[in-house]
Amino acid sequence: MFAKIAALLHALRLSLVRLRALARKELVTLLRDPAMRRILVVPIIAQSVLFGYGATFNLEEAPYVILDASRSPASEAVIRRMESNRIFRRAADPRSHTDFIAALSDGRALIGLWFPEDFADRMARGETAEIFVATDARNTTTANVATGYVSQIIEDVNRGNGTAGVIEIRERYRFNENGITRYNIMTGLILGLAMIQVMLLAGLAVSREREEGSFDMMLMTPLSPVEIFIGKAVAPIVIGIAQSLMIFSVCRWWFEIPFAGSIWLLIFVVTLFSTSIVGLALAISAWARTLLESVVISFVLLLPSFVLSGLMTPAAAMPEWMQTVTIMNPVRYGILTIRMIYFENAGLADILPYLWPLAVIALVTIPGAAWLFRHKVT
């Protein structure tokens, strides 16, 4: 009995020794090349900073034009309000209607306000005075945001004149009081950006060895296919976690997005996510015949899941059937739980209902990949 246990322990110890050696070899092959080391760090940092500034629907000095045919104190009062903050910036001074149209269609202005000649007269007579607003809706979202800002300004003007409606809406945004769109996108990138590299890293690890022929060599070593799989998985998982934490640091300290949750829970979700993505990528690369095929399958599966995850546009705006189809999208719920932890200080119990797709993917792909390793050879 004891002998059996001892033998088992011995085997386990040997297995761990082999695993350590393999994981080390994988890490060394990955990080040996300085170009490789750079590519795992520099783009992640540079992109999260650049995207953090660029990926925003908030307006900052958005160009606008005004065609003021009324030339009255009333219209000037509205224009002063437009220029009193940093949301809008006057881009041009159109003198005619043609100029006004041209400024919008060649993209110099995002939004144009046109005060008709009788604007002030109508207001003085106590009638409703109209301002015509035209937006360049080739970028619909930004156009709608700009219209929203302008209507807020008009509402303020009306309130000042005592002509607003009887119901005042007192609004507040929970968890993001100032409505900064960067909060949403940057926290989504914690998983999204790291995922793309990790997926390629894990996917190529097997395919490349197979193309180079060194995979067959490895199968002749005392390593079992399961051990090969684990050894192959460890390095990309660790790199994925490290990259996610780099992006997290950019969110937290560069953009100073307030972090409300537990860092350990965040790391837990990141680890689970990284594991299931690596499992998926390894299964794909074990199944594919060539490197090209493996990358293509990864693209087909993972790029849509990246874009259809609520990263940039709300997941709830997808058509019903697509919301059902993307239930198994690991990125969608990964990002959701990261945001819950980040902003709402969600606990493990809160996020567990959303973690099962990740767990299922990890549980299916990891044994699947190990099985494919064994059976692809013969």
């Binding site: 005075a129 035209a134 945004y173 390629l200």
Partner: protein
């Protein structure tokens, strides 16, 4: 300086060798159809998925309605919310209950009609509480717009009824007592009159997916020869680097062109986007842009000689920026200046600007032409870089 054996004085370009190499490239594509798939069908699949999935058109937003009193006004308001296709309403009686729903993400917003709401409305100063889950700020601002519109609609109806029956109105509508008239906005969305997100997203998408497929295909082909060792074989043939590069370039370009035509058909047939500009200019813009993306991929491939690095850099250097920094989703006119400048350094920005113009507004053509010239310059530049990086030397 290391002494090197001088090559032939004139690197002659032989049409025969070039055609033979081109044949070889096509044969390789046929053998591993994955690359044909990436060039032609993958763009279509991605346009379909992204076109349906990337949307800002929220409907049936889950909203909790707190009604602390039963009055005709509040009942009418609740009916207005429940009747709208933009909301899925849950009626609750207490703030705590509503907060619980918000915390568990079962609703995205709370609309709070406080006690005494009708009385205050009659006095002309009712306050409606609105709390929105704000993590997704753009969704939150859409929800806010919906709720404001609904409240505005309700207010109008109530005012009308006041005038006929005098049920609630003590102060009547504020406007009639004030000395000046109210200002109202009449807004129009130009170039996308129906305000559908598909029109805004799909034209740019044809460029984004083309970026992915073209730069990816380019990034694979030379590094693969190095990794498989077949580049060494090519080195001892008389084939000139220009012949090798051009055969790869043209074979990929032809596949990408087929993909671009299919993308255009998908945009027009499935998503009903108009093409209001010159179709010839659209084809030229897309073709030149595709040529740039391939040249970019080829350069990475020839320079790094490792598929993993080349593919990574192609995705990182062209696909992701084209998605985020090019003005595709996020307008470059409303971002900090240095981001706008960075965006202007990317060829994708010019391609997307032109494509949006050609699909949606039709003009100004002058801008499209100057963008085309810029794209052409980028393309020639990267082809030259790729040629310099394609060396027939084993070092």
């Amino acid at each position: 300086m290391t002494a090197r054996r001088p090559g032939p004085l004139l690197p002659v370009f032989s049409l025969g060798r070039f055609l033979a190499l081109l044949g070889k490239e096509y044969a390789q594509m046929r053998r591993d159809p994955a690359s044909i798939f990436v060039g032609t069908l993958l763009p279509v699949i991605l346009i379909l998925l992204f076109g349906w999935g990337l949307s800002m058109d929220l409907t049936r937003v889950p909203v909790a309605l707190i009604t602390a009193e039963e009055s005709p006004l509040v009942t009418a308001a609740a009916a207005e919310f429940e009747g709208s296709r933009y909301f899925a309403v849950s009626r609750v009686n207490s703030r705590a209950e509503a907060e619980h729903l918000l915390a568990s993400r079962r609703v995205d917003a709370i609309v709070d009609f406080p006690a005494g709401f009708s009385r205050d409305a009659a006095a002309g100063n009712a306050v409606l509480g609105l709390t929105i889950h704000g993590v997704d700020a753009s969704a939150a601002s859409i929800i806010r717009t919906y709720i404001k519109a609904t409240v505005g609609l309700m207010q109008e109806k109530v005012t009308l009824r006041e005038e006929s029956t005098q049920v609630v109105g003590v102060n009547a509508s504020a406007a009639s007592t004030a000395s000046v008239g109210a200002v109202s906005l009449v807004s129009r969305s130009w170039f996308n009159e129906a305000n559908t997100s598909a029109w805004y997203l799909v034209p740019g998408l044809t460029v984004v997916v083309l970026t992915l497929s073209a730069s990816f295909l380019g990034s694979v082909v030379i590094a693969r020869e190095w990794e498989r060792g077949t580049m060494e074989t090519l080195c001892i043939t008389p084939a000139a680097p220009a012949e090798i590069l051009l055969s790869k370039f043209l074979s990929i370009l032809s596949v990408a062109a087929v993909g671009a035509v299919l993308s255009w058909l998908t945009a027009v047939a499935v998503f009903g986007t108009p093409v209001r500009g010159n179709l010839g200019l659209l084809a030229a813009t897309i073709l030149v842009y595709a040529a740039w993306a391939i040249a970019f991929g080829l350069f990475l491939s020839a320079h790094f000689r490792i598929q993993f690095l080349a593919i990574q850099l192609a995705v990182i250097g062209s696909y992701l920026p084209s998605l985020i920094l090019s003005g595709y989703l996020f307008d470059l006119r409303s971002v900090p200046d240095f981001i706008a400048v960075t965006g202007r350094l990317l060829p994708a920005t010019y391609a997307i600007e032109s494509v949006k113009i050609l699909y949606l507004s039709g003009g100004p053509e002058r801008l499209v032409l100057s963008n085309l010239a810029i794209l052409g310059a980028w393309c020639v530049g990267f082809l030259a870089l790729a040629l310099m990086a394609t060396k027939k030397r084993l070092d």
